[in-house]
Symmetry: C2
Subunit: 442 residues, 2 copies
Amino acid sequence: MTAPLTVEEDELALLTDLYQLTMTQAYWREGMDDQATFSLFFRRLPAERRFMLACGQQHAAELVSRLRFGKRAIARLAETGRFDDAFLDWLANWRFEGDIWTLPEGTPVFANEPLLEVDAPIAQAQLLESLIMNLVQLETVLASKAIRLVMAARGRPVVDFGLRRMHGVDAAVRGVRAYRTAGLAGTSNVLGGLRHDLPLNGTMAHSYILAHDSEREAFRAFARHMPGTTLLVDTHDTLAGVREVIALLHEEPDLSIGAIRLDSGHLEELARSARQLLDEAGLDDVKIVASSGLDEHAIDALLAADVPIDAFGVGTQLGASADAPVIDLSYKLVEYAGEPRIKHSPGKANLPGRKQVYRHVDAAGRLAGDTIAGRDEQLDGSPLLVRSVTQGQPDPQTMALAESARERVAQTRQRLPESLTQLAPGDGNYPVTLSEALSARR
Amino acid sequence: MTAPLTVEEDELALLTDLYQLTMTQAYWREGMDDQATFSLFFRRLPAERRFMLACGQQHAAELVSRLRFGKRAIARLAETGRFDDAFLDWLANWRFEGDIWTLPEGTPVFANEPLLEVDAPIAQAQLLESLIMNLVQLETVLASKAIRLVMAARGRPVVDFGLRRMHGVDAAVRGVRAYRTAGLAGTSNVLGGLRHDLPLNGTMAHSYILAHDSEREAFRAFARHMPGTTLLVDTHDTLAGVREVIALLHEEPDLSIGAIRLDSGHLEELARSARQLLDEAGLDDVKIVASSGLDEHAIDALLAADVPIDAFGVGTQLGASADAPVIDLSYKLVEYAGEPRIKHSPGKANLPGRKQVYRHVDAAGRLAGDTIAGRDEQLDGSPLLVRSVTQGQPDPQTMALAESARERVAQTRQRLPESLTQLAPGDGNYPVTLSEALSARR
């Protein structure tokens, strides 16, 4: 009875808004095939973010470069009765043959800066809109949350426990790609971690404790099976649970226990008391892992108070970026047939023409501000947008930037001005200006 | 270079948290195979919800009933070095052979009520946890948002425009299933709508206007191609756009235009002025569709003020249920080897044993309150949980309840007490009590 969970590659082109197809049919009937440029950007940062970490745009560019309307897709469109047979024949042969400029994966991005620009005949560029937006939003939203957790943890590992809170199967798998880019240390998500090369982490669940006759027997069994494991101590009473761990290690000193995990209650008090109990028992090598509804603010507060927690597991607040689960991306026509285009809707105006972003650094190497310019301008600073797809073909050299995103983000974190590393709401006063030529054009 | 977007059925079993597999290996080594019951529930409603609409649980039950660890999955697990070969052989033959009780799709559900219970040997029931939670959360979160939009719209159609804000490909497709259940009138999402039988809707984008030499020529071309279409009038100036529509229809009275769409600005003023302009031009059959960051509160305010809007398109606030993007579901061991189990973690205690929920109605047929009871109790009211899977096999009769969910939800909406139809934050004072026997057991 149920539909499949997956979307095969020959159906992916149907993951679009109906108007993309009806507009394309209209362009086709009108013979409109001039070169267009569409720009992907957001007008405002979420109140809870000082920057977004642009992720997924190179993956999206590569994916749409091979988008096709397969036989099954064409047949389903025919069934809707909305399309001419001749248009569907044309669609069956549709190929993306344009260029796609993108920020490298893992670039901090601010309001009105393009994450991606597509140059192509309008009927090619228009058809990419919905899928690109869906793909880029997911990774950008999740990575932008994850990097805040990493910053809050001051070098301590943060592990993704969010699979159960993520929005479906694709989010759960592809989201781990964003977490990897952002710098999380590991994930509990087996398929996500295996596919996207992030170390797997796991502890134990309360059910395991409850299925045994006593907490100590559960700890004993699990530690025997999984040397170096993390034991969950809060099923009944956290500090009593810690004492059970200590008693177990006195009974069986050869057992290896890597850490205990606190998953409820007042984490500051419990972590301090647990640390004291463990240290008094000579178990200063047993680490403390905390979870339980944590977000970057809670982690920051715990570490600001020097609470002895060595690692954090984050699920509920991470899995859907609960405080800022969407970014209001726009994909707007900015040039057609050689002429800049602009809309004037109140609060929704956009910058005309093809663009480039130049990023400036201060003497200490820190990010100092950006200039949004026309793509043909040559300004000081580093141009950020790279051509990821040329005439329909992914460029191996620029695509390699996606592979090195995690390392680049780790360096970028050290180069953020202090105002961007703050976690409180508020903009980071990061200066983004328009070039003179772009100002004049607007 | 990029990993596939899809998860094939032979890999789906790997979409789990590592600890499910390590705990299962421990159960297997310990020879623990007694019958367990796990219960899926949430402890608290989100502050922005008065009830959740339980969705996805029958789909999840069917899907996990055929879960297998295929060769590829076993090979990947072997590579991790964490599992015995003998355990992996056992896992390759692993089958779910238990029972799954669920609420029918589209049932309003409250704190501490099971959405689903699994009865099976512990190593079978444990392995379903992460996937069931991921699947049920997505549909439940999205349906619970969507039904609020439907209630706010007082019978006017609400259409999903959320594809670009949904979290990835699976959310975008399967989410439409939840929207269908909740009562949305249509979707812009082609693949989602085709797969889950929700009518497709589409208007036009600003890019289409901007690619033409003038707004009027764009309107003319699109209306010729798509009789009965909706024209987007806010690209430059909304009321000027409405006048262009009127002028076009005076020039070409045979053109058929179904509606205009407002997508920015002060919707109340613009809709009233647009309605007046259209009516004065004798175009009272041209409807007004509004979009632009709408949520249930905005829709409710517009209709409470009798603003002449005939239909609503909702994207950003719907696609990830932005005000309540996660529900803190728990999947807890409540019985093992015939004994009720319970954990005591502060704020995270659970109800012991297998359960049933009885729903009571008042004389007018409205929902009046629930009693959570042991599954073996016989109480007044209607028992809600049905057995969707028996000894590993989906039950066709109860699974048919998933097919009729949309119709049942439409009826349920008429049977909600007024306190549950309010949109403001606050609990609905809906009485959920425990049976005497369950109270005593706890």
